[in-house]
């Protein structure tokens, strides 16, 4: 028994990491920290994909994870560029100050 980890533990871990990512997204005010919480959420999802891939003994889950990583990279690049632009315009990294869409 010591050699085997129940699969549900992996998924629970994934859920906890995802929840922590959401918490970071909701409760932090620095844009970059928010962005990093998004990356945390993506990692949690990766973990659950790999877990399911193990359960079904398929490699498709790994491929999905691979693509998520690619997209995360692209997204990080563009997102950080956006943050740079926003910072140039407003000189603040407080997400609550980016509210010119507010009525």
């Amino acid at each position: 028994m010591m050699n085997a980890v129940p699969i549900s533990w992996f998924l629970t871990l994934s859920a906890i990491l995802f929840a922590l990512g959401v918490a970071g997204f909701l409760f932090r005010r620095n844009i970059i920290t928010v962005f990093m919480s998004i990356e945390l959420m993506l990692n949690a999802v990766n973990l659950s994909f790999v877990t399911f891939s193990y359960q079904h003994k398929e490699v498709s889950g790994h491929l999905f994870t691979f693509f998520v990583m690619v997209v995360a990279a692209a997204e990080a690049a563009v997102g950080l560029a956006i943050i740079l632009t926003v910072f140039k315009g407003r000189s603040t990294l407080n997400i609550d100050d980016v509210n010119s869409m507010k009525h």
């Binding site: 959401v22 909701l26 997400i95 609550d96 509210n99 010119s100």
Partner: protein
């Protein structure tokens, strides 16, 4: 037999004059309007000759008007002896009055409109008279009420005229409501509104049903024929042009109630209670209106109250069971009352608009034709034998005596008062010295020729048209006991009235005023028409208007309905202003909402049966 031509010709006149009349010359308007009515009259004559011995009635069915469930009402016309009498009166006197109006209205604005309305009135009146079922009669009934409103308010820029039109229409409506209830009840009990079907079954219906129907029909007749308590519109209706007063409010429309009760004689003869009510209402109205007519100073108002009073007589005849006597008086009254009104119109026209008796006098030398024709009407209405009014009034009083002697005696007193006030009007207008300031001139031929025709009819109509004999076949046998004593008494009352008026207004001119001073309170009472209008206004009109304003307008309409409609709009706006908060522009709040949504999804998933295995 093409009966439909009789009403359609005036309708065509209305349409042509109404739509195109503005551009027509006066003579073209005249030709269309009078031509249509005269043609209608000629067609009536042709129908009579084609009918032969007049013992069978003709019915023509044109189309099915309403067919729904058990209701089956067609557009049917019926012509029997009663219809013929009415048709002749309506088209004949209508033609005369149309001719007269050419002269009277020649200086008035809205010439084509007047004739259009008059033709429309003729159409509706003919539909009323020709209808073979209650509903078609009601169509005509309502239509003549509409035309009365339009014509009374003809001078629409004068407030008293439009008010009078409103009053006529509204008071008539009350009568119409009674008529409608009667029709509903008739339909409920007899399953049809056709005259022949209803009257066939009425003979065997229970008495209380017939009494109720009779009383409800009477309410309708009270409205249209100006009996108590719905007579108040007729005196005010004098605000319309004089030909209107002559045609509608003397000869034809106000007699519609009498015609309707005579047509429904089957119902009434089996409901003696209703007949008693009719007779009592009739005599009370006759008496009351005659007392008011004693003190009026406007010549048209005198004749208006006289009309109300004479209509009361007709109902006394009907209520006493002498239906043909009532119709007889309808015919003779049409002659002499139309003549009185047209003559008054001629006087007014001669004096360029003066209507107050106190400003007239000594006109018999100045407008002789008008004078002599009105004398014919004067003797007819006073019941002087052997002229037309004597025959018809006598027939009614005899029948009344057989029904109830009290009614007879009140009728005799009323006859005396009738003679008195008409004589008073005649003496104040034509005798003595002229008290006014205008230059009296005789009316043109187009006006005095109809007067002459009507004068001849007023004098000779009694023997020329023996209506009771004519209608004997239609109505139940009514044995009139020949009682010469009664006849002498009523004639004496007539002469007494004339003599008293002669005394008070010609021999001793100041006597009238001194009597008025001595009996100040009664005089004020009748001069102010017993304050009936004021009483109605205080007890009925103002509470209704106030109630309408407070409850229906402010409460229901503005409060409830506007409240609901505006409330819906306001609630939408409120919901919107709450939903707007979702779009806060703040990223973190959006994220919170996304989280909330996903939690909701998860809960829903769990409740709906979990994940698939």
């Amino acid at each position: 037999m093409q009966l439909w031509l009789i009403p359609i010709l005036p309708l065509a006149g209305f349409l042509i004059n109404g739509i195109f009349g503005r551009r027509f010359s006066k003579s073209l308007v005249n030709t269309v309007a009078i031509g249509s009515v005269v043609l209608s009259f000629l067609w009536v004559l042709k129908t009579i000759f084609a009918m032969g011995d007049l013992n069978t009635s003709i019915e023509e069915h044109y189309f099915t008007w309403i067919q729904s469930g058990t209701i089956d009402i067609g557009c049917d016309f019926l012509v029997d002896r009663l219809t013929i009498v009415m048709l002749l009166v309506v088209t004949g006197i209508g033609s005369l009055i149309h001719v007269y109006s050419i002269g009277y209205m020649s200086h008035e604005g809205g010439y084509y409109r007047f004739f259009a309305y008059m033709n429309l009135f003729m159409f509706f009146m003919l539909v009323l008279v020709l209808g073979a079922n209650f509903l078609l009669l009601f169509v005509g009934w309502e239509g003549v009420g509409l035309c009365s409103y339009l014509l009374i308010g003809f001078y629409f820029d004068k407030k008293f005229a439009t008010d009078a039109g409103n009053k006529a229409f509204i008071v008539n409506r009350i009568g119409d409501f009674g008529f409608s209830l009667a029709m509903f009840y008739i339909f409920k009990n007899f399953g049809s509104l056709d005259f022949d079907k209803v009257f066939h079954q009425a003979a065997s219906a229970p008495e209380w049903v017939l009494t109720t129907i009779g009383l409800l029909l009477m309410v309708g007749a009270c409205g249209k024929s100006a009996q108590i308590p719905l007579y108040v519109w007729l005196p005010d209706a004098m605000a319309g042009p004089t030909p209107v007063s002559a045609l509608i409010h003397a000869a034809t429309m106000v007699t519609a109630g009498v015609y309707m009760t005579a047509r429904s004689w089957v119902i009434f003869t089996h409901a003696p209670g209703a007949m008693d009510v009719i007779a009592i209402v009739g005599i009370l109205t006759a008496f009351l209106a005659a007392t008011i007519g004693l003190a009026q100073n406007d010549i048209k108002k005198v004749f208006a109250y006289s009309t109300v009073s004479q209509l009361g007589y007709m109902f006394v005849g009907i209520g006493s069971g002498a239906f043909s006597a009532g119709i007889y008086h309808l015919v003779t009254h049409a002659f002499f009352k139309a003549l009185l009104f047209l003559g008054a119109g001629s006087v007014i026209h001669a004096l360029s608009g003066e209507q107050d008796l106190r400003n007239m006098g000594g006109l018999r030398k100045k407008i002789p034709i008008t004078f002599w024709t009105m004398v014919c009407a004067w003797v007819a209405i006073s019941g002087v034998p052997p002229f037309s009014g004597f025959f018809s009034k006598d027939a009614i009083l005899l029948a009344a005596y057989q029904h109830s002697p009290a009614i007879y005696w009140i009728g005799v007193v009323t006859a005396g008062m009738t003679a008195f006030y008409v004589s008073r009007a005649m003496f104040m207008t034509f005798f003595g010295s002229y008290r006014g300031k205008a230059h009296p001139h005789e009316s043109p031929a187009v006006m005095w020729v109809p007067l002459a025709v009507l004068a001849a009819l007023s004098l000779a109509g009694g023997w020329l048209f023996p209506i009771p004999a004519f209608l004997k076949a239609m109505f139940p046998a009514f044995e009139e006991a020949e009682n010469h004593m009664l006849m002498y008494i009523s004639v004496l009352a007539g002469f007494g009235g004339i003599g008293l008026a002669y005394l008070m207004y010609l021999r001793k001119p100041g006597m009238a005023d001194s009597l008025a001073q001595t009996f100040k309170a009664p005089y004020q009472l009748i001069y102010n028409k017993y304050f009936v209008d004021e009483i109605y206004s205080a007890t009925v009109v103002r509470p209704l208007i106030g109630g309408s304003r407070m409850v229906l307008w402010k409460g229901v309409d503005a409060g409830l309905i506007d409240g609901i409609v505006n409330g819906v709009g306001a609630r939408c706006r409120d919901v919107g202003s709450v939903l707007r908060l979702l779009q806060s522009g703040n990223i973190r709040s959006y994220a919170t909402w996304v989280l909330f949504g996903s939690v909701a999804l998860l809960v829903a998933m769990g409740l709906l049966g979990g994940l698939p295995r």
